[in-house]
């Protein structure tokens, strides 16, 4: 049994029974007389994911404690002190000389405020709220915001990708100088790839941004990332879909990654996003954007974008492992999947027991592409017999497309055509760098700790 109103928010039986019997709803200033002595404080709501056995009390010192229901003999209520949480708003200043930037929210907590009493993170999103917490944004642009979605990034999918692409296209037609997309970091690179394919010939920058440390923390990277992304959207000459996140873990600069070559590479580091098999587009800091290369699409004054917001979600990404059985592939065929991306070993291999299943897939008209689970480097299926045999079974090598990017692209391609040759043409014709002609030597740089020369480098540069 759970309380059906806010009076006992989050409490379930048996704590709920106790609080009701003692007429001690949440926000009561109370003393709990227990078998372990008396505890006085403010009764807080209980998190719904916590157990049903403890009452949460905020002491005068600001600390919270939990008191188990069966220790409580009696509760004396002295008063009530309800938290009424409000995010302060200050009007975002308008400066006619500054460029217009649109911030589209999908649900990451790029800016948020903490309810200190309950610990809940409340997103700050309106221009006024953003200005209240990151006033530096007003030095860069006139900002407008729109909340498209309110989901964790793992819940972003084709519908949201297409919706976001359409919203961006509409804003570009209205004449904004750049777009910032706030996004949770876990699947930011999937969305970046989707937007790269769905929004072609962009005239302005589309900058995706998030944070690795939530914005309620003093050490958060959120404000710096947001400022960097906004500066890029407002002023950069790079009219592409980019991811703007910390370069090093130190507070120094953000890197601008091309949306089709970027990947989240660490579960928690600030500097988690890396460009793979290539170098980033550039960097951004307080002084502005510095391109690292000049082969990017330039900003143009027109307001047109080639919108291709389509997706067929009957596509799967199979991460191959030794001893994989053919039933994995069979089940995809039986369930009506139209496309399979394999992340194969080495240069693009799977084991022999999968061959009959792959043959079945070809016969069923399933589009099968090979990528590499090594992340860096190209598929090359001529070198070994296995590769040649797989191509014989209709598996198409996808060059150096990242597995997740290939997955997104195949769904996007199948959204346009089911024709084998047309899909193949779409897949293997790069839209914006998802396949490159060459991999420069510094496109793969994972320094190995412990080596003396790396130790020397690490000790002389901020990480």
């Amino acid at each position: 049994m759970t309380a059906d109103n806010d009076d006992f928010k989050g409490y379930r039986s048996p704590t709920l029974d106790l609080l009701q019997a003692q007429s001690a709803p949440v926000w009561s200033l109370a003393t709990l007389h227990t078998t372990r002595g008396d505890f006085s404080g403010l009764i807080l709501p209980r998190s719904v994911t916590a157990d049903a056995d403890h009452i949460v009390l905020k002491l005068d010192t600001g600390y919270n404690i939990g008191v188990r229901h069966d220790k409580v003999q009696r509760i004396t209520v002295h008063g009530r002190k309800e938290a009424k949480y409000q995010i302060p708003e200050r009007a975002f200043p308008h400066d006619p000389k500054k460029p217009r930037v649109k911030l589209l929210g999908t649900g990451g907590t790029i800016a948020s405020r903490l309810d200190y009493r309950t610990g809940a993170v409340i997103p700050a999103f309106s221009p006024g709220e953003l200005y209240g917490s990151v006033p530096e944004l007003a030095d860069v642009c006139n900002m407008e915001t729109e909340k498209l979605y309110g989901v964790f990034s793992e819940n972003m999918g084709p519908e949201e990708w297409m919706g976001t692409a359409r919203a961006i296209a509409a804003e570009i037609e209205k004449g904004v100088a750049g777009i910032v997309v706030g996004h949770g970091t876990d699947t930011m690179h999937h969305t970046a790839a989707a937007l790269s394919f769905m929004l072609q010939d962009l005239p302005v920058p589309v900058v995706m941004v998030g944070s690795q440390r939530s914005s309620d923390r003093p050490s958060s990277d959120a404000a710096i990332n947001l400022i960097n992304a906004t500066r890029t959207a407002a002023t950069s000459d790079i009219a592409e879909v980019m991811v703007c996140m910390f370069g090093p873990t130190s507070d120094q600069y953000g890197l601008l990654h091309r949306g089709t070559r970027v990947r989240k590479m660490h579960s928690s580091y600030r500097s988690t996003f890396r460009t793979l098999s290539d170098i980033p587009l550039g960097r951004v800091d307080l002084t502005g954007v510095t391109p690292y290369r000049d082969d990017y699409r330039r900003r143009r004054s027109e307001r047109k974008v080639d919108l291709k917001a389509v997706f067929d979600d009957r596509v799967s990404l199979v991460y191959y492992y030794p001893a994989m059985k053919p039933d994995i592939i069979d089940s995809l065929i039986d369930n009506g999947y139209k496309g399979i991306i394999i992340a194969g070993t080495g240069l693009g291999h799977v084991n022999k027991p999968l061959y009959p299943a792959l043959d079945r897939a070809r016969t069923a008209g399933v589009h099968v592409y090979m990528t590499v689970q090594t992340m860096w480097g190209y598929v090359q299926m001529y070198v070994y017999e296995t590769g040649r045999e797989l191509m014989g079974l209709g598996v198409i090598p996808a060059a150096n497309m990242l597995p997740e990017v290939a997955y997104v692209k195949l769904g996007w391609a199948l959204g346009q055509s089911q024709d084998h040759d047309e899909v193949r043409r779409l897949m293997l014709t790069p839209v914006n760098g998802e396949i490159t002609d060459r991999e420069p030597h510094d496109g793969y740089l994972v320094l190995q700790g412990g080596s003396p020369e790396v130790a020397e480098f690490i000790s002389s540069h901020w990480k």
Binding site: T34, R36, G37, D38, F39, T49, D51, D53, H54, V56, L59, D60, T61, G62, Y63, N64, I65, G66, V67, R68, A83, Y85, Q86, I87, P88, R113, L114, D115, Y116, R117, T118, G119, V121, G132, S133, Q212, R213, S214, S215, D216, R217, P218, S219, S220, A223, P248, T249, S250, D251, Q252, S267, S268, Y269, R270, G449, A455, I458, S459, W462, K463
Partner: protein, 643 residues
């Protein structure tokens, strides 16, 4: 410069020298309304840090293999206001550099990974401490974030949790209340703080600490030291804390009547607590005196402006070395006049410290102007600008020559911050003792550290769930709670051990051994509890480092002592099998043999003669006959010789 009559000081406290430490009586402190509370931090003895698997207690004084750079950004409180401390730290615009060593820190301390679960051993240790101090133990531990924006913790907050509340410790004929016991992670060690860069070493970061907080129940500095000793001792008696340099630190909070609760951080040793709290009481009393003078003069917070006048042209070419040098390097010199503060800035607030230092401290900490001297005062009797230069400065500020003018120098941004801080400190002076955290200095005085953080800086940690404390866990720890010193005294009284011996043993590390052995003693033996106590306290007694190190030797030995088979002196040698006691006849024969071998003539002085005889007989008798018996035989022999 003589002051006009309207600026003469009227509060007698401001006119006489500050009373030195050690010269005030309990009544004097009572008259001041002295109140003091303690916060004692002790590192828990664990193998790992509190929220990650890095090794605990390993420090690399000089070595680091990487650095990271961070900044702290204030987060708004729920009322939409920046916390005062947060704003101050933001105003300092500090770059924070952390020195990393791969042996002692991981991505958790770098704030590049979420916490692991809390170390169980550390939590058990903190629960034991809570029980030792008679606290009410919580049934669910909630990890809370306490914001620190000085950079001492890379996350910007300390993870901390309450494990017990409302304990008490007997003290004389009353008791001192324990407000709470918490478990928390330790912060970084500061390496340097110069200009806009502060550097921290991270090895200590994340070490588990117990924080014990008392109510402000101590009424004199001496009481504060005594209570601190009791708390320290209690923690050690539980065996769950580290000892040695840096393993324990304390903060003290002090107030006087009309003053403010001021927290002094980083008191290195309990011995310093007395002088430090005494000096803080004086400071608060002096600041209250200054407030009175300002009120009498009609100076209010509203009447103080933060107008900064650029006086670089007025001082160009000065012979004052530190200002000339700064100007040569491009510094701007700014002046702030403080009308109404005549005669107040050189009032003593602490030994060798005047009110002006409160301004200098804020300018140093907040405006980052940390090359001392960082300001000069027109009315101060130390060499700075020439009188002609001061005259020009006063004129530029549009004030009379007797009005105190403070000049500061540095980058324009920094002196603007400095002038705002000077005005803030001056306004605070009209209100009394400003709410701030202060830092203990080596000479027993204290200096400004930061503005006291608000209660809003506490909020729940969303990275870790609450930890329920099962009854079985709490009961198991309760069974390990050792007797507190006052309970030991009761036990010793019941065993009829004398008061002096009891007082010593109850606080001695030999207590555990005593408590373990005393049950073996027969109730009617000559070797009783008092004899065991004095044996264990004797400096010659071999004492094991711990009870477990004692092994069965002590048990056998006490059994032998109890039945009279060996005497206490036999134990001193620490041999595996203490020498058995000789029967008195055999002993007397060895005694007389030894005396017969004495050289002739014996010294004439009686005491020297007794000494020589002792020297002759003891090699054969030591540890085999009670020393008191040998002494009696010698006395009898000497008496015979005399007669």
């Amino acid at each position: 410069m003589s002051l006009s009559s309207q600026y003469r000081l009227t509060d007698p406290w401001l006119l006489q020298p500050l009373p030195a430490w050690g010269t005030l009586s309990d009544d004097d402190y009572a008259a001041l309304g002295f109140r003091c509370g303690l916060e004692i931090h002790q590192q828990l003895l664990t193998a790992r840090k509190l929220f990650c698997r890095c090794p605990a207690g390993r420090y690399n004084r000089d070595h680091h293999d990487a650095e990271i750079l961070r900044h702290m950004r204030p987060t708004l409180s729920e009322m939409g206001e920046y916390d005062g401390t947060a704003l101050m730290e933001f105003k300092t615009r500090k770059e924070i550099v952390y020195l990393l060593n791969r042996e002692t820190v991981c991505t958790y301390e770098m704030d590049d990974a979420p916490p692991f679960e809390m170390d169980d051993l550390a939590l058990d240790g903190s629960l034991l401490m809570a029980m030792l101090l008679g606290c009410n133990v919580v049934s669910e531990v909630h990890i809370t974030r306490k914001q620190y924006l000085d950079g001492s913790i890379p996350t910007g907050f300390q993870r901390t949790a309450i494990v017990g509340t409302d304990g008490e410790v007997p003290f004389g004929n009353r008791s001192v209340r324990i407000r709470q016991i918490s478990i928390e992670e330790d912060s970084c060690r500061e390496v340097s703080d110069r200009g806009h860069r502060r550097v921290y070493r991270t090895d200590r970061l994340g070490m588990p600490l117990i924080e014990t907080v008392t109510d402000p129940d101590m009424r004199t500095p001496q009481e504060a030291m005594a209570v601190g000793q009791i708390l320290r001792f209690l923690a050690r008696s539980g065996g769950m804390v580290r000892t040695g340099a840096g393993a324990a630190r304390q903060d003290v909070n002090v107030s006087v009547t009309g003053g403010t609760r001021i927290e002094i951080k980083g008191v290195p040793s309990l011995r310093e607590v007395g002088r430090l709290t005494h000096n803080e009481a004086l400071r608060q009393r002096s600041l209250l005196g200054i407030r009175g003078e300002l009120a009498r003069r009609g100076v209010t917070a509203e009447s103080i402006t933060d107008r900064l006048v650029d006086v670089t042209p007025q001082v160009r070419g000065t012979a004052c070395g530190f200002i000339a040098q700064a100007v040569a390097q491009g510094a701007v010199v700014g002046a702030c006049a403080l009308p109404g503060f005549q005669g107040l800035l050189d009032v003593s607030t602490q030994p060798r410290t005047s009110f002006l230092k409160e301004f200098s401290d804020r300018v140093r900490v907040i405006a980052c102007l940390d090359e001392l001297p960082n300001l000069a005062l027109s009315t101060q009797n130390v060499p700075s600008l020439s009188s002609a230069e001061w005259e020009r400065v006063s004129k530029a500020c549009n004030v009379a020559a007797d009005v105190p003018v403070i000049v500061v120098w540095g980058s324009r941004a920094d002196i603007e911050t400095a002038s705002r801080e000077i005005a803030i400190r001056a306004r605070d002076a009209t209100l009394g003792v400003p709410n701030e955290t202060r830092q203990a200095l080596d000479d027993g005085t204290n200096g400004f550290e930061r503005i006291l953080p608000g209660a809003d800086r506490m909020y729940p940690d969303t990275d870790l769930p609450p930890i329920p404390l099962a009854d079985a866990r709490v009961d198991a720890i309760a069974a390990r709670v050792p007797l507190r010193p006052w309970e030991r005294l009761e036990r010793l009284r019941a065993l009829e051990v004398g008061a002096d011996l009891s007082a010593r043993l109850s606080r001695h590390r030999a207590w555990d051994l005593f408590a373990h052995l005393e049950g073996r003693l027969p109730t009617d033996g000559a070797f009783d509890a008092a004899a065991l106590a004095s044996l264990l306290l004797d400096r010659s007694c071999p004492r094991p480092a711990s009870l477990s190190a004692a092994g069965p030797w002590w048990e056998h030995t006490v059994d032998a002592l109890a039945c009279g088979r060996v005497i206490p002196e036999a134990v001193w040698s620490g041999e595996d099998e203490p020498t058995a006691r000789l029967d008195d006849g055999e002993a007397r024969r060895l005694f007389e043999d030894a005396l017969a071998s004495l050289p002739n003539p014996l010294p004439t002085a009686a005491d020297k003669r007794a000494h020589a005889m002792m020297g002759a007989v003891m090699p054969a008798l030591r540890g085999r006959v009670p020393g008191s018996l040998v002494r009696r035989w010698i006395d009898e022999t000497l008496a015979e010789v005399r007669s």
